[in-house]
């Protein structure tokens, strides 16, 4: 069929030459997926909470005097804009990771990639169609906040330039993260593994690498601080966004002016994205060819040769079978060499950060250890939530679930096997927190009393997160849905609820902090902060055990024994709730078997 001139113009305008029919297909599918609606709703809800929080912090909580409030409007405008822009930036990145986590693996897993290869659709169109359809939805979400920011701008204090700069940086970051995640999804059929790898990759690119190069450049090569920070800003969207925020709120605190550097940054991000795009097209073409020739297995891996099939030793089943299987399952699907590299990277990053902070005389400060504890505990919770949410859905996806349920293994053996397997896998990550504490107790920067308390905080968090994850895993059919649900649940419970409590408390309990104080007393991360705040740092670390005092939001000051009892009560509550989740799992274990 010949294309008329009008057809060609239409194609050019709608970009269909670039995306082909994949773009419209993806948009159609997206509109039918419940999880997309859920993601968008969560995105908007979190943004709304951020706006309310900023308003509450900057205007509402100060005074009921109208004149005073009006005088604060300009500061509120800046705070609201800055908060919305920053929250939006991180949320957009997270949503793009989730949305693109199964972009290509879906085609590989459903064996449609080989079919696409036999049509006139090019691989460029496949990748561009997938990428742009998801990015379009995300950009629309980002654009939704523009009217709000426009209205807030009326308060004064927020230059247009800031909005344009932050919008462009967000956009290019989202494009880069989208292509990065899409590229990872070519090699892995499980979306949750793509999500973990993508986020870990971003942490390495934008947090670990700048730290390492900073230590190398400033510490070893005597590079000027400001020059290095400028280099980081040009290559790192997270840092550039932080700098733009500083520029907005406190222009004098800036080590350098962003001027036109943000344009260089955006162009660079687009350039890297283009290179990744080209690489993705090449790799996908290879995969498609392999699948079309029947050389790709169901998981998207190249079929193994018989020689490699016969390698390796047989491990005999010992103890309860489900526990044995879960115990040996690494879940991150990393081979020996990759695992060693990952361990070296993590250890190296931690050691470098210690070296940097030691140089700055920050290691003996309690805030330093609060920061470390929050990062380690946050990451461990995040990984535990992911591992737990995959336990049953991965069996459903690989269709091994009916075979397992037909055996004599009891429901409780299955459930406890899964729970213990997750706890065993996450022990490594929680171990980093405990190891950090132990090292600095030995060094004398943290009081030894912190160790049992940290264990008493970490243990119920890990158990509770595991139980909720197993619950969501039994509830959903798809692993990605279960993982996202568990992550959102945990985030809402330990971050969202305190935020809500702050807002509601500010509005309905003016002058009283009773609501937020009650809420934080149920939050294990609050205890983590308080314990370290009270007994970490060079000064507090040498206090005698009898003189140790913990100040909580409710209940005043407590000694070591009282604090321990309180922590046991909170831990027990989480453990009992976790057991409640497991009971529900038991009741619905044999329902909706695939």
């Amino acid at each position: 069929m010949k294309h008329t001139f009008i057809d060609r113009v239409y194609d050019a305008v709608t970009l269909s030459w670039l995306t082909g029919p994949i773009f419209s297909k993806e948009l159609r599918i997206s509109s039918r997926r419940k999880r997309n609606y859920f993601l968008r709703s969560s995105y908007l809800l979190i943004l709304l909470i951020a706006i309310l929080l900023a308003w509450e912090a900057m205007v509402h909580s100060y005074s009921s005097n109208v004149v005073y409030r009006v005088s604060r409007l300009s500061a509120a405008g800046m705070a609201i804009t800055g908060t919305v822009v920053m929250v939006q930036f991180y949320l957009a990145i997270l949503v793009s990771v989730i949305m693109l986590s199964n972009a290509i693996s879906e085609e590989v897993y459903h064996k449609t990639l080989g079919v696409l290869m036999s049509t006139p659709i090019s691989m460029v169109q496949v990748i561009a169609g997938k990428l742009l359809s998801k990015l379009l939805q995300l950009i629309l979400l980002v654009c939704l906040t523009l009217p709000i920011l426009g209205i807030v701008r009326v308060f004064g204090g927020v230059p247009w330039e800031y909005l344009i700069k932050s919008f462009c940086v967000t956009l290019t970051a989202v494009i880069f993260v989208g292509i990065w995640t899409l590229y990872l999804s070519i090699h892995q059929k499980h979306a949750y593994i793509v999500i973990i790898r993508s986020i870990l990759g971003l942490i390495v690119f934008f947090f670990v690498a700048p730290l390492f190069f900073g230590w190398l450049a400033i510490g070893e090569l005597n590079v000027d601080d400001d020059s290095y920070l400028l280099c980081v800003a040009v290559t790192n969207p997270m840092f550039l966004m932080a700098m733009l925020m500083v520029e907005l709120m406190e222009p004098r605190g800036m080590p350098f002016a962003t001027n036109s550097w943000w344009i260089v940054h955006c162009l660079m991000m687009l350039g890297i994205s283009t290179l990744l795009f080209i690489r993705a097209v090449t790799v996908v073409r290879k995969k498609a060819l392999l699948q079309a020739c029947g050389q790709l297995d169901d998981g998207g891996k190249t079929k193994r040769r018989s020689k490699t099939e016969k390698l390796g030793k047989i491990h005999h089943v010992k103890g309860p079978p489900v526990l044995w299987k879960e115990w040996r399952d690494s879940r991150l699907k990393m081979g020996g060499a990759k695992r060693i590299i990952a361990c070296l990277l993590v250890t190296g990053s931690i050691l470098i950060s210690y070296a940097i902070f030691e140089n700055e005389n920050f290691l003996d400060d309690d805030y330093c250890h609060i920061m470390y504890a929050m990062i380690f505990a946050g990451l461990s919770t995040f990984l535990t939530a992911i591992f737990a949410a995959t336990t049953i859905t991965s069996e459903k996806a690989s269709r091994t679930w009916p075979a397992l349920l037909c055996t004599l293994v009891t429901d409780w053996q299955i459930i406890w096997g899964k729970v213990i397997g997750v706890l065993r896998r996450s022990t490594l990550f929680w171990g980093i927190l405990v190891l950090h504490m132990t090292i600095f107790i030995l060094v004398g920067y943290i009081h030894p009393a912190a160790l049992p308390h940290i264990v008493m905080i970490a243990m119920p968090v890990a158990f509770f997160t595991t139980c909720s994850g197993v619950f969501f895993s039994s509830l959903f059919k798809h692993t990605t849905s279960a993982v996202v649900a568990n992550m959102i649940f945990v985030a809402l419970l330990w971050a969202g609820v305190p935020f809500f409590a702050t807002i509601i408390g500010g509005i309905f309990f003016r002058g009283s902090d009773v609501l937020i104080e009650t809420v934080v007393m149920t939050n294990p991360f609050y205890y983590l902060i308080e314990v370290l705040d009270d007994i970490a740092g060079k000064g507090d670390a040498s206090t005698s055990w009898s003189r140790l005092r913990y100040s909580w939001a409710v209940g005043g000051k407590m000694n070591f024994i009282e604090a321990t009892v309180l922590l046991w009560v909170v831990a027990s509550a989480y453990i009992v709730t976790g057991l409640g989740f497991l009971k529900i799992v038991k009741m619905r274990l044999r329902k909706n078997i695939v």
Binding site: D297, D298, G299, K303, R304, S306, T308, E309, K310, L311, G312, I314, H315, H316, V317, K318, P320, P321, V322, W324, K325, D329, K333, E395, S398, R399, T400, W401, P402, A403, L404, L405, C406, T407, L408, V409, R590, I593
Partner: protein, 310 residues
């Protein structure tokens, strides 16, 4: 009786997948379960394997109710689903040993049992291979090995030969014959009806959740009247004479001339062959062959079902 269902009904919301299904399978039989897609075969098999609860009615395996005696039924049944899932990163031996442990087989006996089923399914050479690296045919064999691991009395196999090449299908068929000799009761569903015809003692045809027919293959042919048809081939010169002679026989309803032979329809199938032979020999007609008209299971299936699916 090894398997029995009494008014078995299963509804998924508004959709009725099974409606008052009554089925019996005797010990040591191979029972072929046939039906169009969505007829309720897999639902029936899943209920018998204790994976689904019926909405109404009862199902028994070896006299035990699947609802109230789930554990005993699971010990008796080996269920192989239509799509066999495998665990990543497990080797063939480990995979089978895992299921051996899951069926409470003592650790000391596991090795010999696993090696036994590997030998039976001809997978000995693959015991250290990763299960996800096996071909489809090998994975189906591994699935069979898995269901045999606890030596169940009953095997419920949902489409065990789907997606297999002809050689693998023949191998599976031979294996099933071997298992029948070992005294197993086998319930098998398949879309390849010619294969079921060769191995099954009994056949059940299900459509729209209802059992359309259940019985031996002979009973099918009787029901469809295929025994009362005889295919007669005579030398070409005697064809007209043979038609004339046969039309004169009162037991014969109709003689249809076909390209190379005559198709003779009888009112009573029992005497068909001998009447034809006597009549033609008496009329001095040179006979090439006389054989009952064979009907294939595929044709029987088409006649018995109306193509109704959910």
């Amino acid at each position: 009786m090894m398997i029995e269902t009494v008014n078995l009904t299963k509804c998924y919301g508004q959709l009725q997948a099974l409606g008052n299904l009554n089925l019996t399978i005797n010990q040591g039989d191979i029972f072929g379960f046939i039906g169009p897609n969505g007829a309720g075969k897999t639902t029936t098999m899943r209920i018998l394997a204790t994976l689904l609860e019926p909405t109404q009615g009862q199902a028994f395996v070896d006299g035990k109710n699947v609802l109230t005696h789930g554990k005993e039924v699971r010990r008796t049944v080996g269920y192989m689903p239509d799509f066999m899932g495998v665990y990543d990163d497990l080797k063939v031996f480990e995979y089978l040993e895992f299921f051996a442990a899951a069926f409470d087989i003592p650790a000391k006996q596991r090795k010999s049992i696993v090696e036994g089923v590997l030998e039976l399914t001809d997978l000995e050479g693959k015991k250290t291979a990763a299960v996800d690296s096996l071909s489809r045919g090998m994975q189906q064999r591994l699935g069979l090995a898995r269901v045999l691991i606890h030596d169940p009395k009953v095997l419920i196999l949902d489409e065990p030969a789907s997606g297999l090449d002809p050689r693998a299908r023949i191998e599976i068929r031979e294996l099933l014959r071997e298992l029948k000799k070992m005294g197993k009761t086998i319930m098998i569903s398949s879309h390849i009806l010619s294969e079921l015809e060769e191995i099954c003692d009994y056949v059940g045809i299900i459509e729209h959740g209802q059992l359309v027919f259940s019985g031996t293959l002979d009973e099918i042919w009787k029901k469809l009247g295929t025994h009362s048809k005889v295919r007669v081939t005579v030398v070409d010169e005697h064809k007209a004479k043979a038609i004339e002679l046969l039309n004169a026989v009162p037991e014969i309803e109709q003689v249809v001339e076909q390209k190379s032979h005559l198709l003779v329809n009888f009112t009573d199938g029992q005497i068909a062959g001998s009447v034809v032979a006597k009549t033609l020999v008496g009329g001095d007609v040179d006979i090439v062959s006389i054989e009952p008209e064979k009907m294939k299971l595929d044709d029987a299936f088409l006649q018995l079902t109306k193509g109704m699916v959910h």
